[in-house]
């Protein structure tokens, strides 16, 4: 009992590898620790290994190498039905030949829970997702959003401590998806369950999770809380994958003593950047700046900030924000987002302006 509850990892991947064909690794050296009660999202493009990780955790795939632990115990050799993990599938997987109540009753029946107990739990679970009146219907008679709620209730009805969700909102339209995102996080925190959520939608990952693990090429590229992931990406992939991003290519000139790096862009301009995963002068780098951190209003530009010349190519009015496309240091796809404030200037195509940003918002990453 030396470890306190919060220290002990509830879910743990230890040097896990997975190969389907014996030639290529789909998952390469995965290490991950999750505390109890965390909402963790695995985010990544298709083929990045995130779903394979989920399936290994659920027990439908076996790890080729390494160990997966649940509550401190290795579960590699425990079959899926003995792991006690709730799961929500991409296409809901509600049993079409059973009513909603029978669907929810199923996990309780296989656990030999008595009838009266079952009914109470089913009712509670259905009420929780506001589907209390639909118990007698069949899945085909429900809309996509309703099926999604039932699938959620079914995964929760037997009170698992860990729930896995495999792109559960992928088939819903945008509005419903946003509503369900909120409801799922709300429920998860309310019930105190641990959730592993797989998605390829970065907005979903950012809005729902305590931490996000960005997958690419069978590895976790970065695992961090949403704000840190967005504002402090650790490599070019994460910077590109999460949110919108402007990149300027260049070479490191020198690393200064104040921790900043001087970068010479390809058109000769010199700018200050925060070095992230670059260390040597002479190394090529990709400088990344978020569109909303770029400023062109002279009154708002901080003193001493290095500015660059830019030409306005396009101005798009989007209601709440303005989206302006610029040509900066030879890059025609440089985007600036500004809030639609009363004093905000509306730029005209062809206009020559000066833009600037804070050195900490400008990150020098691997090329």
């Amino acid at each position: 009992m030396a470890e306190s509850e919060s220290d002990a990892a509830f879910v743990e991947f230890e040097r896990v590898q997975k190969s389907y064909d014996g030639e290529t690794l789909v998952v390469k050296d995965l290490n991950l620790k999750m505390p109890r009660g965390e909402f963790l999202t695995m985010l990544g493009p298709s083929g990045s290994g995130k779903t394979t990780c989920l399936m290994m955790l659920a027990g439908f795939e076996t790890a080729t190498h390494g160990e997966i632990k649940l509550g401190g115990k290795p579960i590699n050799n425990i079959p899926p039905h003995k792991r006690g993990i709730g799961m929500v599938f991409q296409n809901y997987a509600l049993f079409p030949h059973m009513t909603i109540e029978e669907n929810l009753s199923f996990p309780l029946e296989v656990r030999n829970i008595g009838k009266s107990d079952r009914e109470a739990k089913i009712k509670r679970a259905l009420d929780m997702v506001e589907m209390g009146t639909f118990g007698a219907r069949r899945p085909a008679q429900l809309s996509g959003g309703q099926q999604q709620r039932v699938a959620l209730a079914r995964a929760l009805v037997f009170e698992p401590e860990l729930v896995l969700m495999d792109e559960p909102l992928g088939a819903l339209d945008k509005q419903l998806r946003e509503k369900m995102q909120f409801e799922i996080t709300h429920l998860a925190h309310q019930l105190g369950i641990t959730v592993v959520y797989v998605t390829h939608d970065q907005t979903e990952a950012l809005t729902m999770s305590d931490r996000v693990a960005v997958f690419d090429d069978g590895r976790i590229q970065q695992i961090a809380p949403p704000d840190q992931l967005y504002e402090e990406p650790e490599n070019s992939f994460v910077a590109q994958f999460i949110g919108e991003n402007n990149t300027l290519e260049g070479v490191i000139k020198e690393i200064r003593e104040n921790g900043l790096a001087l970068v010479q862009l390809d058109d000769g301009e010199l700018i200050d950047c925060t070095p992230v995963n670059v260390s040597q002068p002479g190394e090529r780098t990709r400088v990344s700046i978020r569109p909303e951190r770029v400023e062109y209003n002279k009154a708002r530009l901080q003193k001493g900030v290095h500015t660059l010349k830019a030409e306005v190519l396009e101005f798009i009015y989007m209601g709440d924000i303005f989206r302006t496309r610029l040509r900066v240091a030879g890059n025609d796809e440089f985007i600036v987002k500004t809030r639609n404030a009363p004093d905000q200037e509306r730029l005209q195509p062809g206009q020559q302006i000066e833009i600037g940003w804070l050195p900490q918002d400008c990150r020098a990453l691997d090329a």
Binding site: A58, G59, F60, P79, P80, H81, K82, R83, G84, I85, G86, M87, F89, Q90, N91, A93, F95, P96, H97, F106, P107, V110, R111, R154, A155, F158, L164
Partner: protein, 416 residues
Amino acid sequence: MSDTSGPILAADGTPLKKKLQQTLFRSRARAFGLVFPLLAFIIIAFILPIILLLSQSVWDSRYADLMPESTKAVAGWDSSTPPTEEMAAAMVTDLVQARENKTIGKVATRVNRELSGTRSLFTKTARSAAKLEAPYLGALIDRDEDWGKIETWAAIKVAAKKFNPSYLASAVDMKYNADGTFEREDEGRRIHVKLFWRTLEISFLVTVFTLLLGYPVAYLLSTLPVRTSNLLLILVLLPFWTSLLVRTTAWIAMLQGQGVLNDLFVVFGIATDEDRFSLIYNKTGTLIAMTHILLPFMILPLYSVMKTIPPSYVRAAKSMGARPSTAFWRVYFPQSVPGIGAGALLVFILAIGYYITPALVGGQDGQMISNIIDFHMRRSLNWNLAAALGLVLLVFVLFLFWLYDRIVGIDNMKLG
């Protein structure tokens, strides 16, 4: 809205409904034109022959056409009193006529079906009918005393009916009497019902065997990667492309007393050389060969249904704590039922009318109803009885369809 009662008009003023029909008519006419050749072919080459043949099971005007006078005479007879002079006179007239027209053979065959032994009575009497003189009844009895028996005339009365239930009755081992009553056939002559039952038994067993063998194969096919499953599917279909005759004779080579299988049994000591298993020319042979031949008809519908069951259902069941067997029986199996229904119905209906295989490997007790139909079509030339047997079979199959529709629902069936 004041004009809701009037018809809605198209832009040119014609009622919209009429306009729509005009527009649709052209495309429908074109579609009909395309299917017409096939439709005509099916009607002429398939539906009409079936109707004509089946109608023979209840319609037989041969006697009435060839022997018009006696037909009229026996129609008024009550079939329990002794024959009258009037009937005898009509019979002699007809016999003379039939001998002249050389149709007496057909007539004799027809009556012989109702009462065996009457063939020679007719042909013999007809030869000298022209020389007979009144009173005809006495003259006929003089030629052969059978003419005085009531049962002879009763058989004639039955044969003379154009719309005639006697064939259908005989198809289910009943006898149709001249007075319009039915009774069961004598014990020794009840063969059809027994054969129908055996046909049902064999079809049912073949269905069960194909299901037991086919289900795992279909499951395997549906879970394998597409490339492997396509290859295996070709293996399943291979028998389809091989002649039925070849496959059946191959089974003869496999199963006969000195065949491959029995040789193996002897080698492994399961059977002794003197006492080999009889695997062929009996019911066992029919069952083995038919199960093999009909297996693809079970596998294909099962496969097509199983392919549509996503693996996530069973995974979901397992994630909820169901053991693999529970997940299978409660989640997978119920969803494969439409395939089982389709496959079972297909195999059963094909099996119930199966002919070549039982004929070749069935021996005595492996024969099915189709074999006796064939016998009546080609050997005894009793097409009417063959048609009656076919009709009984058809009605039974339609009944099964109806039953299936009531229990499972025909729209629940998936054939591919």
